[in-house]
C-alpha cells in the first residue's frame, strides 16, 4: 500500500510527546466494563471500517477492502468452517466425487438475487465463463486454471469451459484437469460467487451497486471514498442470517484516523489497528478488544537462482540466526506469532514443531554458515512505504552479529518495480514477501508459492518430490490422507527452506461500546454478520 508510515509514526510520536507535555495526565474517565452477556438479538445498525475497494465485482476483487464487503453481498456454493478448516454448503446442499476430478454439486432451489432472479446451476456456469473470458479482464480468472476448458476460453478457441456442465437447475458438474480435493474449500472464495444476468449488460454500472445473493443487499450505491451501506436481505434462505439490520462500511484513507474515530465513538468496528497503537490499545479500549491469529504470513525469500544461496545449510543458518521473538517484541509490540511451520497455525493441519531450523540458535548458525561458506556481503530487498523498513533492518543486524556478515546493503523499491525485479530474476539477496490465504487449505498455503514454475514462486524453488507430494495430496481419496501428504510436503519444504518463515500476524480488533460479539476470521475479514448491536 502507498502510505507514508515512517513519517506518520515520527509525527505521531512528536504529537504524542507534545500532548503529554501540554496536558499532563489526561484521564478520560472510561465507563466501567459493560455487562458482556446479553442474549443474541437481531436488529440495529452499526458502522465498520473498510478502505476504498479497488473493485466490487467478485471475479475482479483481490484485496480485503472489497472482498469483505462482497462476502456479505454474495453467497457462494460453499463457505468454510474456520474451526475445522472444512467446507460446508451454502447455495450447494452437498457434493460428490469419485476421483477428485469430476465433481457433482447439488444446489438449493430457494436462493434468489436481490432483484428476484433465481440462482441456478446455469447462473454459476454463466458467471464463471464470463470471469474467465480475457476480454472481461477479471483478475481472479486464473483461479479457474485447473477447470477443463479454461485454456480454450483464454486462448479464444471457445466461449465456455467444457468442464462446467449444467445438468439441470439444481445440479452442476465440474470437471478438472487434475485431481483436486480442496475444490469445495476453493469454491468458497470470492472469485466463484454468482452474478445475475443484469451484471453482463453494463458491468461498470453494476459495480456501483452490485446485486448479489448474500445476507445483505446494498442500499443505494457505492459512495466512493465515503461509505457503502447495506441492509439485511430478508429472503436469504440459508442458516445464520445477519444479526444487524444494517451495516454501514465507512471508508477511510488512513487507519490512524479510523482508530481515533472508534475512540471518539463515531465508528463501531475497526478490524486492524495501526502497529504503533499496539502499546496503548489496552488503555484506550479496555475490554473492547479482540485479538486473533491470522493466516497472514511473512517470509524472507532467498533467490535460489543466485549461486550464494544454493546450499541449504546457508539458508538454515540464516534462519537460525534470527531471534524472531525479540524482533516481534521490539518492533511489533508482540503482535506477531513466530513461524514454526509453513502451514499456518490457524489451519487444523498446522504442526507447531514442523520446522527444525526456525529456533534461534546463533552458535550453531555461525558454525554452519562458516562451514558452508555463506556470503559475507548481503543485499536485502523490500518494497518501500509499507512498514518493512524496521524489521528488515533488525533481521539484517542479527545476520551481521551472528553470522559474520560484514556488509549489508538495502534495496527499497516501489511495489511495481519490486515485482518486476522478481519477474526478471534480478534479485541478488534475501527479500521480504507475504502471503494471505484466500481460502483456508494447506494446498493454498504451499502450492502457489513453492511448486515449480508457479506464478507466485519468486525464489525459483524447484523440487520434483515436493511437487509430486502436493499433486498426490490434491488427489488424495480422503481428507486425512490429503493432510498427511500435505504435511510430508511441508517437511520437505522446511528442509529445503527456499524461504525463511518469519511470523504470522496477530490482528487486534477494536470496537465501540455499542456492539459486541466482534470477531475476525483467519483471512483477516471481520465477521460482521454476527456482530450484535447492544444499544
Amino acid at each position: 500500500m502507498i502510505k507514508q508510515h515512517a513519517t506518520r509514526v515520527a509525527a505521531l510520536a512528536a504529537a504524542v510527546a507534545l500532548l503529554a507535555a501540554a496536558c499532563g495526565s489526561d484521564d478520560d474517565g472510561e465507563p466501567g466494563a459493560d455487562a458482556p452477556d446479553e442474549a443474541a438479538e437481531a436488529g440495529g445498525e452499526f458502522t465498520a471500517y473498510t478502505c476504498e475497494p479497488q473493485f466490487l465485482v467478485p471475479g475482479n476483487s483481490t484485496e480485503v477492502c472489497g472482498s469483505m464487503v462482497l462476502e456479505q453481498l454474495f453467497s457462494g456454493l460453499t463457505a468454510v468452517n474456520y474451526e475445522t478448516s472444512e467446507a460446508y454448503g451454502v447455495v450447494a446442499t452437498d457434493w460428490d466425487t469419485d476421483d477428485n476430478v469430476t465433481w457433482t454439486f447439488n444446489l438449493r432451489d430457494d436462493f434468489t438475487f436481490h432483484n428476484g432472479d433465481p440462482v441456478t446451476a446455469q447462473t454459476f456456469a454463466d458467471t464463471w465463463n464470463w470471469v474467465v473470458d480475457p476480454d472481461n479482464a477479471q483478475q481472479n480468472s486464473n483461479f479457474f486454471d485447473n477447470f477443463v476448458g479454461y485454456a480454450d476460453v483464454v486462448e479464444g478457441n471457445a466461449d465456455e469451459m467444457e468442464g462446467v456442465r449444467v445438468i439441470d437447475d439444481t445440479t452442476l458438474e465440474i470437471e478438472l484437469t487434475v485431481p483436486f480435493s480442496p475444490l469445495p474449500i476453493m469454491l468458497s472464495y470470492t472469485a466463484f460467487y454468482p452474478l445475475p444476468d443484469e451484471a453482463y449488460e453494463d458491468i461498470e454500472a453494476f459495480e456501483q451497486a452490485p446485486v448479489g445473493n448474500g445476507r445483505y443487499e446494498i442500499d443505494g450505491s457505492w459512495e466512493h471514498d465515503v461509505q457503502i451501506a447495506m441492509d439485511r436481505y430478508e429472503d436469504w434462505p440459508a442458516d445464520n442470517p445477519g444479526l444487524a439490520d444494517r451495516i454501514v462500511w465507512r471508508i477511510y484513507d488512513d487507519i490512524n484516523t479510523a482508530y481515533l474515530d472508534v475512540q471518539a465513538g463515531n465508528l463501531d468496528v475497526l478490524y486492524s489497528i495501526p502497529p504503533e497503537r499496539e502499546t496503548t490499545v489496552e488503555s484506550d479500549f479496555g475490554d473492547n478488544i479482540f485479538r486473533a491469529d491470522t493466516s497472514s504470513f511473512t517470509y524472507m525469500g532467498l533467490p535460489l537462482y543466485q549461486d550464494e544461496f544454493q546450499d541449504p545449510d546457508i539458508r538454515h543458518a540464516m534462519s537460525m540466526a534470527i531471534d524472531r521473538q525479540a524482533i516481534i517484541d521490539a518492533i511489533f509490540s508482540g503482535a506477531r506469532t513466530p513461524a514454526t511451520a509453513v502451514i499456518p497455525p490457524v489451519l487444523a493441519q498446522h504442526r507447531e514443531d514442523a520446522c527444525n531450523y526456525c529456533q534461534y540458535d546463533p552458535d550453531t548458525a555461525a558454525d554452519m554458515y562458516e562451514a558452508a561458506g555463506g556470503p559475507e556481503e548481503l543485499t536485502v530487498y523490500f518494497n518501500s512505504g509499507a512498514g518493512h523498513e524496521d524489521w528488515t533492518e533488525a533481521v539484517a543486524n542479527q545476520w551481521q552479529q551472528n553470522l559474520g556478515v560484514t556488509d549489508v546493503t538495502f534495496e527499497s523499491l516501489e511495489f511495481a518495480q519490486y515485482l518486476d525485479l522478481h519477474d526478471n530474476e534480478e534479485v541478488t539477496g534475501p527479500f521480504r514477501l507475504g502471503w494471505v490465504l484466500s481460502y483456508p487449505s494447506p494446498q493454498y498455503a504451499m502450492e502457489p508459492i513453492y511448486t515449480t514454475g508457479q506464478s507466485s514462486n519468486y525464489t525459483g524453488y524447484a523440487n520434483d518430490e515436493f511437487d509430486n507430494l502436493i499433486r498426490e495430496a490434491n488427489g488424495a481419496p480422503s481428507p486425512e490422507e490429503a493432510d498427511a501428504l500435505y504435511q510430508q510436503a511441508e517437511d520437505i519444504l522446511l528442509e529445503d527452506m527456499p524461504v525463511i518463515p518469519m511470523w504470522y500476524e496477530t490482528r487486534t480488533v477494536v470496537f465501540s461500546d455499542r456492539v459486541s460479539n466482534v470477531e475476525i476470521d483467519p483471512r483477516t475479514f471481520p465477521r460482521v454478520e454476527q456482530v450484535q448491536v447492544t444499544e
Binding site: 480475457p134 471514498d225 479510523a258 515485482l419
Partner: protein
C-alpha cells in the same frame, strides 16, 4: 488592462500543454509495471494483463500515449483509472471537497491572520502584540502534519468540539481541518501585515493624513492598511500553490475525500491519467489565482500598470 488580460489568458495554453506533458512523462518514467502491481503478490494471468495493457495503451511509446490521452481530453474524455472509474467522475466528486477545504482555510487565514496582524501593529509592544508574536512563532515552527494530528486529538477526540474525520457535518466538518491547513499561512500573514503596517504608520503620507485631521480609523483603514496589503496579497498568491499541496496531508489525516488524497494515491499506482487530470486542474487554478492577484495589485496600487 484588457490587452494584458487577453495576453495572460493566452499564456494558459502553453502552460497547460507543457505541464500535462511533463507530468505525463514523469509518471511514465516511474519504473515498474502498474498492471503487474495491481494484483499484488499473486499475479493475474497473462491474458488478463494483456487485455488491461491494451485497454490503457500501456505498450505504446510515451509520445503515442500522450497523444492518445490529449486527443481524448480534447473530446472531453479524461480517461479511466486502472480500476475502471472515469477520472471525470473522481474529479467531479472530489473537487468540491478540496474547494471547501481550501476556501475554509483561506477565510480563516485571511480573517484571523489579518485581524491579528492589525491588532498587533496598533498595540505595538503591548500584551496583544507579544501574544501574536509568540503564537505565530510557535505556529510557523511546528510542521502542519504534526499540528494537524495534535489538533485532531485535542479538539476532535479529547474536547469533542469538532468531528475527527469525514464530511458528515457539512461546513462544520471543514473548520478544524481548514484551520490546521491555514495555520502556517495565518501566522505568516499576521507577521507580514504587522511589519508592513508598522512601517506604513510611520510613513510621511500617514503623518500628513493625521495632520489633515482625519479620524484614526480612516487613516489606518483607508491609507495605511491599503498600502500594507500589497505584500500580503503577493504572499497569498504564492501561498495558494503551497496550500494545494497542503491539502494532500490534511485530507489524509481528516479522511476528507478530496483531490489531494487521490493524487497521492494515483502517483503510487502510476495512474498517469488521474495524476495528469488532477494536477492540470491544480495548475489551472493556480494560474487563474495568480492572475487575480496580479489584477488586485493594480487596484491596490494605482502606480502598478500593465500596459
Amino acid at each position: 488592462m484588457r490587452g494584458y488580460l487577453i495576453r495572460r489568458l493566452l499564456q494558459f495554453i502553453p502552460v497547460v500543454i507543457g505541464a500535462t506533458f511533463i507530468i505525463f512523462a514523469l509518471v511514465f518514467a516511474i519504473p515498474g509495471d502498474p498492471i503487474r502491481a495491481l494484483s499484488g503478490d499473486r499475479p493475474m494471468s497473462e491474458a488478463v494483463q494483456a487485455t488491461l495493457r491494451d485497454r490503457y495503451n500501456l505498450d505504446d511509446p510515451l509520445l503515442i500515449q500522450y497523444g492518445k490521452y490529449m486527443l481524448a481530453l480534447v473530446q472531453g474524455d479524461f480517461g479511466m483509472t486502472f480500476t475502471g472509474r472515469p477520472v471525470s467522475d473522481i474529479i467531479g466528486q472530489r473537487a468540491p471537497v478540496t474547494a471547501q477545504l481550501a476556501l475554509t482555510a483561506f477565510v480563516i487565514q485571511a480573517v484571523i491572520g489579518g485581524i491579528a496582524g492589525i491588532l498587533a501593529a496598533l498595540r505595538r509592544q503591548g500584551f496583544l502584540d507579544s501574544l501574536v508574536q509568540v503564537s505565530t512563532t510557535v505556529l510557523v515552527a511546528i510542521p502542519t502534519l504534526v499540528l494537524a494530528m495534535i489538533g485532531q486529538v485535542v479538539f476532535g477526540l479529547h474536547l469533542g468540539w469538532f468531528p475527527i474525520a469525514g464530511t458528515g457535518q457539512g461546513w462544520y466538518s471543514y473548520v478544524l481541518p481548514g484551520a490546521m491547513l491555514a495555520s502556517t499561512s495565518m501566522a505568516l500573514i499576521a507577521r507580514l501585515l504587522r511589519t508592513s503596517l508598522l512601517e506604513n504608520l510611520r510613513a510621511d503620507y500617514v503623518r500628513t493624513a493625521t495632520a489633515k485631521g482625519l479620524s484614526r480609523s480612516r487613516v489606518v483603514g483607508r491609507h495605511a492598511l491599503r498600502n500594507s496589503m500589497i505584500p500580503v496579497v503577493t504572499f497569498l498568491g504564492a501561498d495558494l500553490g503551497a496550500m494545494l499541496s497542503g491539502t494532500v496531508i490534511i485530507e489524509g489525516i481528516f479522511n476528507l475525500p478530496g483531490l489531494g488524497g487521490e493524487v497521492f494515491r494515483a502517483i503510487g499506482a502510476q495512474e498517469g491519467t488521474v495524476v495528469v487530470g488532477i494536477v492540470t486542474l491544480f495548475v489551472l487554478i493556480f494560474v487563474t489565482l495568480s492572475l487575480i492577484v496580479d489584477v488586485l495589485y493594480a487596484y491596490l496600487d494605482p502606480r502598478i500598470r500593465y500596459d
